[in-house]
Amino acid sequence: MDISHSHNSGSPHQHILHRLHALQQQFRHISPHAMQRTAAEFNISLSQVAAVVAFYSFFSTQPRGRFDILFSNCTSCGYLSGDQDLMQMLCQLLQVTPGKTRADGLISISETSCIGMCDQGASLLINGLPVTALNAEKLTQIAQRITTESPLTDWPTEWFAVHDRIYRRDLLLMEQHAPGSALQTALAQGADQTLAVIQQSGLRGRGGAGFDTGKKWQLCRAAPGDAHYVVCNADEGEPGTFKDRLLLRDHTDAMVEGMTTCALVIGAKQGFVYLRGEYRYLLPHLHAVLDQRRNQGLLGQHILGYENFEFDIDIVVGAGAYICGEESALIESLEGKPGIPRIRPPFPVTHGYLGQPTIVNNVETFIAAAHIITHGSVWFYSIGTEQSRGTKILSISGDCEKPGIYEYPFGVCIRQVLDDCGAQNVQAVQIGGPAGKLLGAAEFNRAISFEDISTGGSFLVFDQQRNLLAIHRNFAHFFAHESCGFCTPCRVGTRLLKNNLDKIAEGRGTAHDIEELKQLSHLIQHQSHCGLGHTAAHHVLDGLQHFPHTFSAPLQPHFTAQFDLDQALESARQATHRNDAAAHLDNE
């Protein structure tokens, strides 16, 4: 049995996440025996392997189907995005229960967090590959192909197509990057001057938090260490974000060049691209670009002939964990551990990968850096607002005519964006994903910028037809699923928030629950360990402020039991194999 083929051409050592992925692919699950072998091979404890397997959604200890389907449950690319429940439809066609592998082992169907196909219609992953633009007809054909066990390679290639639609290009997306051009400039002017240009450009991190990029590079450069590392955060997991999907495919050279320039500045020899598992289909392309750049002398030893400039990049592919977009969780994951955010300080710029000084920047940040080096700081600095220089690439989806990619100078008004994407009768927008901000029409005159509404790129549009409570429930379920479980307020609080919203939506809420939502939200926001917890309840607080009716409308004026008594008997009915009338409570 050969499971040791490496995806990782840049390094002779396989990453544990890649080994576990290979095992999952081959055996449809990761057995206790496989975990023991993996622990021995990587010389780590069995409990570490078990903890990694348990942490990442794409690994399982119980066999998945030979066709393993994960429907996105995002509000834009999810299975409920039309007026049909597409997951239920496919489950019925194939006689399978969600979350349970069919007895013959052929098929399993579950759901997963946003897979970044929000502008492509309802989407799923089948054995890791995205299938987009789902509808009833396509699902019928998919069911037929699965029933006849037609290999995925025989399926129509159009089903797997991802059609990027760019509706507005500005500084970055208008650029055609010539491989090596930024590096030539950087090497000619030297590391000091290169850093100065980045600092003068006003570039801030594009992931949403907006830390000053030049300052980050400077701090990392100054930090003592045995080695320095450059990490590209390509783990865009915020529901509604898909701009990195485009950038990774069409602007790969600029991204790698930004990383290589950063390596020159901070003195790194090794870099990593941490790619979200949902984007694994981009891996062959990324490896091809890295190989090509090695052949062109733009990666590896003696880059562009410089004797002392050596840098190479490995790609590490995640396995379904939103929290790994948080930089210290990402580093934990790079080190082959569960993605639990670290104690900070110390910060990654001084103590990152393997405890060494590490830069973690967003895909878009590295691309901007490469272009800034080529064109100079003024080219970038002269666009945008006082505190937000340059442009921001938005991923727009939801209720609009033209979902897709839009690049705007910072400072653009939300109303402008809505007009451009053909959004009508807009009830609300969620900017920055579920962790971001929910705004109603009264605030559409606000601007996209670090001073006002900051975003990593997600821009979700909800029209008047949308049930906002369903949106809040979706977000609350998302955070409860993605909480890493480390700290009490987030682990327990996100689940309580979810239960509370479910209760209101099911018509069992009372006025007391509104007060509960507020207190719980504040607690999660203030007491949690990391950014996930700090932001997980934003949408509830925004909703309570701007759309209080969403929560109060379904409330019950009279006494209502907290739970459905009949439903509570379900496990007893299953245990006794009964479903007759006498096994049900009279639900009057």
């Binding site: 078990a50 903890a51 104690i343 409860a480 909480s483 700290c487 327990v492 609080g493 996100t494």
Partner: protein
């Protein structure tokens, strides 16, 4: 503000600290109690329970993992923070399956003592009633995950003090649970012994030593005599010879 370069203020009281100390270290050394469950002096801090969250300016930080820095003005014993601590304690109660009246740990349990300390009179939140596995395989030690609060103390004690690495925490969100580092996943197949720190540091009734049940009568137990504030200020474990 103080001119002394190595002091912080907690609730207005100026206390000294030495380089490398956290806010918690400095507070405990000065006899100031900051409520905590996952912290144990002498073990590396974790920061998971969040009871020790204090306010530093307009930021909320966990005292056990935040370095003391000259001039910090910390708010600790405030009604708002103690309300939040009570809510977190209630969260821990509803997440697990806690059976105080019949639990062998009653009276010695820190979760219970914390509830008393914070004036917790009910669970407030609906119970989760999660199914959690019990491991009675070890002849001398019982592991009941129903009562585990995921404080990570046994993990750190076993790894850093006992040098055995018997435990880890696996799973995300409320699926997080304690696992045993053996192929069977059973405690009996580990090298754990009753004399290990990991067998004795559990703040709740998740890890219990067998066959000593109710040796000390209820009424004469730790928190029948002292408050968690008093024990919390005294507790300390020394690292064995590292060399």
């Amino acid at each position: 503000m103080s001119d002394n370069p190595s002091t912080i203020r907690i609730d207005g009281q100026e206390i000294p600290f030495t380089a490398g100390q956290t806010i918690m270290d400095a507070a405990l050394a000065a006899g100031i109690y900051i409520p905590h469950l996952c912290h144990y002096s002498g073990l590396p801090p974790s920061g998971n329970c969040r009871l020790c969250v204090v306010e530093n300016g307009n930021r909320s930080v966990a005292a056990c993992i935040t370095p003391a820095v000259t001039g910090q003005e910390i708010r600790n014993n405030t009604p708002e923070l103690n309300e939040a601590r009570k809510a977190i304690t209630q969260m821990l109660f509803v997440e697990g399956n806690h059976i105080c009246p019949s639990c062998e740990k009653t009276g010695n349990c820190k979760l219970q003592a914390m509830a008393y300390h914070l004036g917790m009179l009910d669970d407030h939140f609906p119970q989760f009633y999660q199914r959690r596995e019990l491991d009675a395989s070890h002849p001398e030690i019982l592991l009941d995950r129903s009562r585990c609060i995921l404080c990570d103390l046994c993990v750190r004690a076993s790894r850093d003090m006992d040098q055995k690495n018997v435990f880890a925490i696996a799973g995300r969100g409320t699926d997080a649970h304690l696992i045993v580092n053996t192929p069977s996943g059973k405690l009996a197949d580990s090298t754990m012994a009753v004399t290990d720190l990991a067998a004795n540091i559990c703040p709740v009734g998740a890890i219990l030593i067998k066959e000593i049940g109710y040796e000390v009568p209820i009424g004469q137990r730790i928190y029948d005599q002292q408050t968690i504030r008093e024990t919390g200020l005294q507790e300390h474990v020394d690292r064995k010879n590292d060399d």
